[in-house]
Symmetry: C2
Subunit: 196 residues, 2 copies
């Protein structure tokens, strides 16, 4: 029995509850009943806002994808030497990831069981491809090492950045967003070894 509260949700605040539930239970494991309980409003109240859970998923991953693709339209991602644009994009990826943590976490966990999930995976691949293109251009300029294959380098760099969702918590007690983005840029571009 759900103790229904008055529905004062906006599309944004309902989305924020749904994303939390999706991240905890997995999208597949979440029912409208779970969403109704977490939000404290009836299922029909939820249907007043959205057509169903897939629409909530689409809105949530769109928010993450818009944040990521938005980076590529920013001035420093569009002009200048490829390696500098790449550095800018890597830093901004960490910033978007930490700022939109639950949304990016959900995006990274999408499996591909529904049309919306497959669309999200396709968009993720497109974003990866755009960043791979920047690594390729920087390698062609001679600014990035040529002895690591571009696709492999892209996967490893994304692996490092995406792993941040596993431990970063913006509660002010752990590491700050700036410390994390600085560290990623240092490691991705210069590695651990101190210059001799």
């Amino acid at each position: 029995m759900t103790t229904a509260k008055r529905d004062t949700y906006t599309p944004e605040s309902l989305l924020s509850v749904a994303v939390q539930v999706f991240n905890e239970r997995g999208y597949d494991g979440t029912s409208m009943e779970h969403l109704s309980r977490a939000a404290g409003i009836s299922k029909s109240s939820i249907y007043h806002h959205v057509a169903g859970k897939e629409e909530l998923l689409r809105r949530a991953v769109s928010r993450a994808l818009d944040g990521l693709f938005g980076i590529l339209d920013e001035e420093h991602a569009r002009g200048g030497r490829a390696v500098e644009r790449l550095e800018y994009v890597v830093r901004r990826m960490v910033e978007v990831l930490t700022a939109e943590l639950p949304y990016v976490t959900l995006l990274l966990r999408v499996r591909g069981n529904t049309g919306t999930e497959r669309w999200a995976l396709e968009r993720r691949r497109e974003f990866d491809h755009r960043v791979a293109g920047l690594i390729k251009a920087a390698a062609d300029d001679g600014d990035v090492r040529a002895d690591v294959e571009v696709r492999l380098a892209t996967r490893l760099v994304f692996g490092m950045i995406n792993s941040i969702v596993e431990w970063y918590r913006p509660d002010g007690r752990g590491m700050g967003e700036r410390e994390v983005s600085d560290a990623v840029v240092q490691l991705v571009f210069s590695g651990l070894r101190r210059d001799q």
Copy 2:
């Protein structure tokens, strides 16, 4: 209805089937019924080999953990400058991960709902801690950059290495194990940027 086949399993071959099912369905989502169906033998035949699914989990994550901790006992991990030991350990981590792919994948997905899972998480933390100690020692020697905090560097390096389970497939069609371990060592120690 299960079409039971003659039980010709060894503990090893049964474990290999179980790990595959755990990785596909998640450990929590796997029942003895699922294991029985995947193995093609009755549940009681499985109980002839093991006490239950938690024993299978313990054996599987032990195999991954033994592989990882084994690295630290190898000669090149014990003698020499810290930065060289660290480089050796990073390369061997990638090798163990690719050689024991399903077992390490399972280890990395452990959530902590059962005693065995909590024990596995504890051992993982211990391994991370040992590697963090090497990074710290190499920084104290002046061989590793001091401007990235050790705990953060450890997390990011593990993030890069662990992400390999998401895409590496040892089917001979994609990248080879050597190409991957070389790339990880290059990126972790020297980064993407080409020396000027």
